[in-house]
Symmetry: C2
Subunit: 135 residues, 2 copies
């Protein structure tokens, strides 16, 4: 047999069984064959497609981006369109990095005021209460 059940697909691709079924429900994975008893049977193509989805997810692309890559919106995209999606995605990532770095600075700044004592009197919480603090 060239077909295999969902458990093997899951083991082979590193994608959870429930996630595979979820991808099918939202139309990202096509409906596979079934055994007479109703169990899903996948082939090589299914594994390739699922791995593609997993890699794209690992790179942080949204389900909707992936739908586009797979041509599920309309046509399969041109190379330029894919680049455009990736480029916008990277811009979001870079903005997130900048945001988180600013957050780190602000947090570190108020943490510096902390005495770390065992009393409930905490400059860190005070900093959150004071409108004119470093925050």
């Amino acid at each position: 047999m060239t077909e295999f059940p969902i458990g093997r697909l899951s083991a082979e691709t590193g994608v959870n069984i429930e996630t595979i079924r979820f991808y099918e429900k939202i139309g990202l994975m096509p409906k596979p064959h079934r055994t007479e008893g109703g169990r899903r049977l996948y082939d090589r193509g299914g594994a390739t497609r699922l791995r593609f989805i997993r890699r794209a997810r690992e790179l942080g692309f949204s389900i909707d981006d992936i739908r586009g890559f797979l041509g599920l919106h309309d046509q399969p995209p041109t190379c330029a369109e894919v680049y455009e999606t990736a480029s916008r995605h990277r811009a979001v990532i870079r903005e997130k990095v900048a945001d988180l770095k600013r957050l780190d600075l602000r947090l570190s700044s108020i943490m510096g005021a902390c005495t770390q004592s065992e009393t409930p009197d905490c400059p860190l919480l005070d900093a959150l209460l004071e409108p004119r603090s470093v925050i």
Copy 2:
């Protein structure tokens, strides 16, 4: 009157009306007075508390962290406990920054292969399909 309705509280603190009601539902904000007609009335204390919550959220603390700060888990926390929470939070932020930077590198790497042509033949998508790619 020293009391004011939810709209003014919202305007004053920059927190959405629906969010204020949400905070009340989950017990982060206490139940306020009501007019005879059933509308919420807040005082200065309410505004101070809500601003505290907003600042903590801006710093990325979870609702549960904030519950701890406000002493809603058990007692009001000691300064050392607050510092510990902040410290763990900062560690998560730094890990996220590192993750996102790695993501940027990987993404940039495969974007470099892209021809940005108008054809559907896309090295970027191929990179996601190939198991042995740079990704």
